[in-house]
Symmetry: C2
Subunit: 306 residues, 2 copies
């Protein structure tokens, strides 16, 4: 079993101060709240966390601050995949040094139509340069955003060459058949769904959990699905999954980071949550109002704020 | 006239050493050779130059080294547009400080389907943070690679708000109608083609030149087109343009950076030119052989190497 990771991970939002810089105290508070409310792990600095809108210096500092502020390294699975080989190496090395459970690694995503040879070389070069047996890589498959497809053959090559390091994949493609195919094909390779609605369907087929944006506000539901499934209580798992999916559908009809920051702002009463780095923008008042009407109709409320 | 820039710019290749780091002496030599052989300006650190495969530290150092090695700042138009706001600000500030003629600025390119409001905010935030009246931005429009479209309305908004700073656009969309529309719509806004074949067609419609990959080996042809056009010798301009287009077509049928590095390696006899950072890969021997057969059939040879 390559993957030691399982359960429900939040793709953690990054609260920003008035200068649009990460707010150290606020993200530590948010991470603690997430752990207290259903999150097995914290995938900071992913797509939802606006990672690619921060410099590598900002990202390194954010990771160091979290550890200093008491978040255990072994619950973290930070995003570390950048366009630049040297950036990915630096961030990944830092994550390993801080004891992260794994890293979530996008392929370099500027160039399009690159070959599998080029993608293999990208991952291989990072692994060789980091050169640390503690490194566990979860490939981050999100072709709609990255413009790059991580296919079956590439995973197979990587697993063959780096069986101890390549531990799993977060699949945000929205294609549950792709997730299941990979979970079936590569035993021990931990496949996590990037979409809440496939948490249970993927668990049933050998997946190990999910890493999702909506877990910033609804991890307690994912956790209930996961716990029920582990206890063999499929009926409960399915019932709660249906509820989670409804919440997910309401939120993911909108730009995810903006919608979730809106929910957090209302939930905590802290307007700082509205801050978002360009090119993302805050939801319009109309869209926000519609979202809250829908969430209310679903009788959805996040757990009490800290 | 916002744009002081005109003529033929190379989207300069970045020679790499055995560790895949920029080779300082080699890029200075290449830049001098380009200036001696038809280039009015040097767009270092663009798509062809593998910029996004380098960290911002590496890019800052490359710019500083070029200046120290005697390349005049005012012939440079470096790429400075990154995913991260803070990276774009840092690189842009450095380019201005070094006296660059302008900067070529990709929009943040990780997030897709972002709004014009978000793109406007991205550019505006950079301009405000750099806060330097010397800054001249050339928007870098390359939707096939960036996944982001810089449309007419956005340009209009930016020009209205920052008429002295937003100076022009490099259009690599391959859509000459888009280039011409923008050249017609915004007098004084310097539109440069990202594709050699549209150099003359765009000059005829008010464009100011081109910034191209193929200019790494064939700027002498572009320079001849430009000079003939300026002298009113349309016949010569058209004849040389046809030749340039044929060379361009041969090279751009292949991955551009790899193909051009192959041509430079053969031309200079220096195998270091084969080095390329993942996810890009060297051309296969077969494709390279085919390329040289085609270039030979066109009787194409770059100017004597230094």
């Amino acid at each position: 079993m390559n993957s030691s990771v399982q359960g429900v991970f939040a793709a953690v939002l990054t609260p920003l101060d008035g200068d649009l810089a990460p707010d150290r105290a606020a993200i530590a508070r948010h991470c603690r709240w997430l752990r207290d409310n259903g999150c097995d792990g914290l995938s900071v600095l992913g797509t939802t966390g606006e990672a690619n809108s921060f410099s590598v210096d900002e990202r390194v500092r954010l990771l160091e601050d979290l550890i200093e502020d008491g978040i255990p390294g072994n619950v973290l699975m930070p995003g570390t995949g950048c366009c630049a080989l040297t950036d990915t190496v630096r961030l990944t090395r830092k994550a390993v040094e801080l004891g992260a459970a794994g890293v979530l690694m996008l392929p370099p995503f500027y160039y399009k139509n690159v070959s599998d040879d080029g993608l293999f070389a990208s991952y291989a070069e990072v692994i060789e340069r980091v050169g640390d047996p503690r490194l566990r890589i979860y490939l981050y498959h999100f072709p709609q955003m990255s413009g790059v497809f991580l296919g079956h053959d590439l995973i197979e090559r990587l697993l063959k060459r780096y069986p101890d390091t390549v531990a799993g994949m977060k699949d945000s493609s929205g294609d549950v058949h792709n997730m299941i195919r990979n979970a079936h094909a590569f035993p021990g390779f931990g496949v996590l769904s990037g979409s809440d609605e496939f948490l249970l369907p993927l668990l049933k087929e050998g997946g190990v959990g999910c890493i999702t944006a909506v877990s910033n506000v609804a991890a307690f539901l994912g956790a209930e699905v996961f716990a029920a499934w582990r206890q063999g209580d499929v009926e409960t798992a399915e019932r709660v999954q249906a509820r989670l999916t409804a919440v997910r559908n309401a939120i993911s009809a909108l730009p995810l980071t903006a919608a979730l920051k809106e929910v957090m702002a209302r939930h905590t009463g802290d307007d700082e949550w509205f801050n978002i780095r360009p090119p993302l923008t805050r939801l319009s008042a109309t869209r926000a109002a519609d979202l809250f009407i829908t969430l209310e109709s679903l009788d959805f409320n996040p757990p009490p704020a800290p």
